[in-house]
């Protein structure tokens, strides 16, 4: 019994990470309908930025602001940096391709993804880097039985949920959020109604990648190990989560991410690690056969 409970908690934590990456992904996705391959790589870049902030000057940030202070600085710094990188990416690689339709956009995103990950390799080298142990908050608490969870992981989950709530609030409850949703639904009409497309794009391409960077730094802190191609699998998971939940809606991305994590943990922990991803994709396909637009994707009938 305890093992099942443990696996549920494990799945939840893994899923929270996926949800966090998926959320940024989903924001860009909802507006652009763009499979943003580069999102995973911005996540990696964020992780590396955070790492650099923490090791620069022999861990100056940590010694000055303390461990948790250092974490805050690294997270905010990485978010700012990657937010700007996201805007830059949009300007250089996506904006000139919008008019050409969706497929060239996908290829451009793929190119950007390859460029960023190999750029990271060129700058930081092909080897694994590890977040310095001195900058990582330590300590763990007993959750139940003999199941321990690190405080850092707990904080990660709390931060993730708080952010999800915040984004959910902005997108669903504010006027600006309504504009974002309108844009996601029908760009042409929204523009005709006086919504500034550029402004929404800027918002989405700043906040989306910044969320990715936050996830990246927390990944680095939790798992210490980072490498230039780290984002590839996270990007794929995020995409899976977004589709699972239903394209372009924030709660869907969160639900999709957490479901994905739960499926992975339960199957790996209780059945087989080697077949885990096969299982996950088969479930995904079955879900899509039953619900062709994801778990809570709205059924949008095309106007004929």
């Amino acid at each position: 019994m305890q093992v099942l409970l443990e696996q549920l908690v494990n799945g939840l934590t893994i899923g929270t990470f996926y949800a966090l990456v998926a959320m940024g992904y989903s924001m860009v996705y909802g507006i652009m309908k763009l499979i943003n391959f580069a999102h995973g790589d911005l996540f990696t870049l964020g992780s590396y930025l955070g790492y650099t902030l923490l090791v620069i000057g022999g861990g100056w940030v940590t010694t000055t602001f303390g461990v948790w202070g250092g974490v805050v600085v690294a997270v905010l710094g990485a978010m700012l940096g990657i937010g700007i990188a996201g805007l830059l990416l949009e300007r250089v690689a996506y904006a000139p391709v919008y008019k050409a339709g969706r497929l060239p956009l996908v290829v451009s995103a793929l190119g950007a993804s390859i460029f960023i990950s190999n750029g990271i390799m060129a700058v930081w080298g092909p080897r694994f880097q590890a977040y310095p142990a001195t900058s990582i908050p330590s300590g763990s608490i007993l959750l139940f039985g003999d199941f321990r969870i690190t405080i850092l992981k707990l904080v990660t989950i709390l931060v993730a949920f708080a952010l999800m709530a915040l984004i959910y609030f902005i997108v669903e409850k504010t006027l600006f959020g309504a504009a974002v949703r309108a844009m996601a639904l029908d760009r042409e009409t929204a523009t005709l109604m006086g919504i500034d497309f550029r402004k929404i794009i800027l918002f989405v391409f700043f906040v989306g990648p910044a969320l990715g960077a936050l996830a990246g730094v927390f990944a680095g802190l939790n798992y210490t190990r980072i490498i230039f191609n780290l984002g590839w699998s996270y990007g794929l998971k995020a995409f899976t989560a977004v589709i699972l939940g239903g394209i372009g809606n924030i709660p869907g991305a969160m639900l999709g991410g957490i479901m994905l994590g739960l499926m992975e943990a339960l199957f790996e922990g209780l059945v087989s690690g080697a077949w885990k991803n096969v299982f996950v994709f088969i479930i995904l396909i079955i879900i899509l056969i039953v619900r062709p637009t994801g778990l809570i994707g709205e059924k949008i009938a095309e106007k004929v």
Binding site: I14, G125, F128, N222, R225, I227, G269, G273
Partner: protein
């Protein structure tokens, strides 16, 4: 539009002419060219870079001693991106440049197609990061050798170590479904079979983790439930470090036994001292424990140049592949592949960083000793000396 096709064709043709031209001229200079095929990009880019650095350091040492047959050694590098198709092309490229000896490559399924090509073109190739048994045993490749040991040697050592030294009853074997990790795991299972049949040992876990992921808590919870005495991990350091760190954080205290791809500087850095202390690792003699003059010389030179130790044992094997080739060329008195291959098989006094460089008829390294190492409480690797 057709003008563009034509332009493209012309471009391709011109470029190919250019490159072919380079290759043609190169063969006439006064150096001995030795190829190095390594994964400089792709998933194992780090391994490729280390191999390149190590081989270059080894070449500098040889050249400083006056080279081979009085000529300087020059290394020609080709990237195989750790993928079979690129491997075949990289091999063709080195063959087309007229090389007669190459060091190739990392990963058994990447090495196999290249080894076939080298063999068909009578080019001596020496593998350094390819340990699958079948490479030498499935078919005779007269021009193929390897400086790394075989999966089964290390698996056999693990079984003896686990049953006789650790007295393990419940064993967990974890791999990553890649050719190397799965190979070692399968062989370990094979050698364990008699013990399992006699009821002395139970394998409570035999499964793969997915490499490249970050959170392995699910599998750790599972191990906690299964309570094995020994946890044998047969894949790479990056996953090993995460697993061990997360296991210790979760309170799993099972003895961790890693194979020869685990104990690296990266492993120590990622997992941290708290996690790695007490973990045991099975390895061929590691460079820093070798008391050969060659190992000291190499490591000092490497450290002087890169300010660190080689990142993995495979890079050292790549350097030794060069040492073996150099010795064989010297012995044969020529770079003729037939004579060099013959010399590789018959040489008796060649010495490398990892000890004597002797090869069997089928191209395997002879007498690779294995040792168990343990990380002490300071996180420093030392020889395992019992409880």
């Amino acid at each position: 539009m057709n003008r563009r096709v034509f332009a493209m064709v012309t471009l391709v043709v011109t470029l190919s002419a250019l490159f072919a031209g380079c290759a043609g001229q190169g063969a006439q200079t006064e150096t001995i060219k030795i190829g190095l095929q390594a994964p400089l990009t792709g998933d194992y880019a780090a391994e490729g870079q280390w191999a390149k650095q190590s081989v270059e350091v080894a070449a500098e040492l040889i050249n400083a001693r006056g080279g081979v047959l009085g000529k300087q050694i020059e290394i020609v590098v080709a990237d195989d991106a750790s993928n079979p198709k690129d491997s075949a092309l990289a091999a063709q490229k080195l063959i087309a440049q007229g090389l007669q000896e190459v060091i190739a490559s990392y990963g058994s399924s990447v090495t196999a197609p290249a080894a076939d090509l080298y063999d068909a073109n009578k080019v001596v190739s020496v593998g350094y990061g390819c340990t699958a048994v079948r490479l030498t045993m499935d078919k005779q490749r007269p021009y193929f050798f390897r400086t790394a040991g075989r999966d089964d040697t290390q698996s056999e050592f693990f079984v003896k170590f686990a049953t006789e030294v650790l007295n393990a009853k419940r064993i967990a074997i974890m791999h990553d479904n890649q050719d190397y990790g799965k190979g070692v795991a399968d062989d370990a299972m094979r050698f364990l079979q008699p013990y399992i049949d006699s009821g002395q040992v139970e394998v409570v876990y035999f499964d793969a983790i997915t490499p490249g992921e970050s959170d392995y808590s699910a599998v750790i919870s599972q191990l906690k439930e299964l309570k094995p005495d020994v946890w044998f991990f047969t894949a790479y350091y990056a996953e090993a470090a995460l697993l061990l760190k997360q296991a210790r954080e979760a309170g799993l205290t099972t003895i961790f036994v890693g194979n020869n791809s685990v104990p690296t500087p990266e492993f120590e850095k990622i997992a941290g001292v708290d996690a790695i202390k007490g973990s045991i690792h099975l390895n061929e003699p590691m460079p820093q424990f070798l008391d050969f003059p060659e190992s000291h010389e190499f490591l000092n030179a490497y450290r002087a140049k890169y300010n660190e130790l080689p990142g993995s044992i495979w890079a050292v094997y790549a350097a030794d592949a060069l040492n073996a080739l150099a010795a064989a060329i010297e012995k044969a008195g020529s770079t003729d592949p037939d004579q060099v291959a013959n010399a590789m098989r018959t040489m008796t006094d060649a010495r490398g960083i990892t000890g004597p460089l002797l090869f069997t008829e089928r191209g395997d390294r002879k007498d690779i000793p294995y040792y168990a190492y343990i990380y002490n409480d300071q996180g420093v690797l030392e020889l395992y000396s019992g409880q």
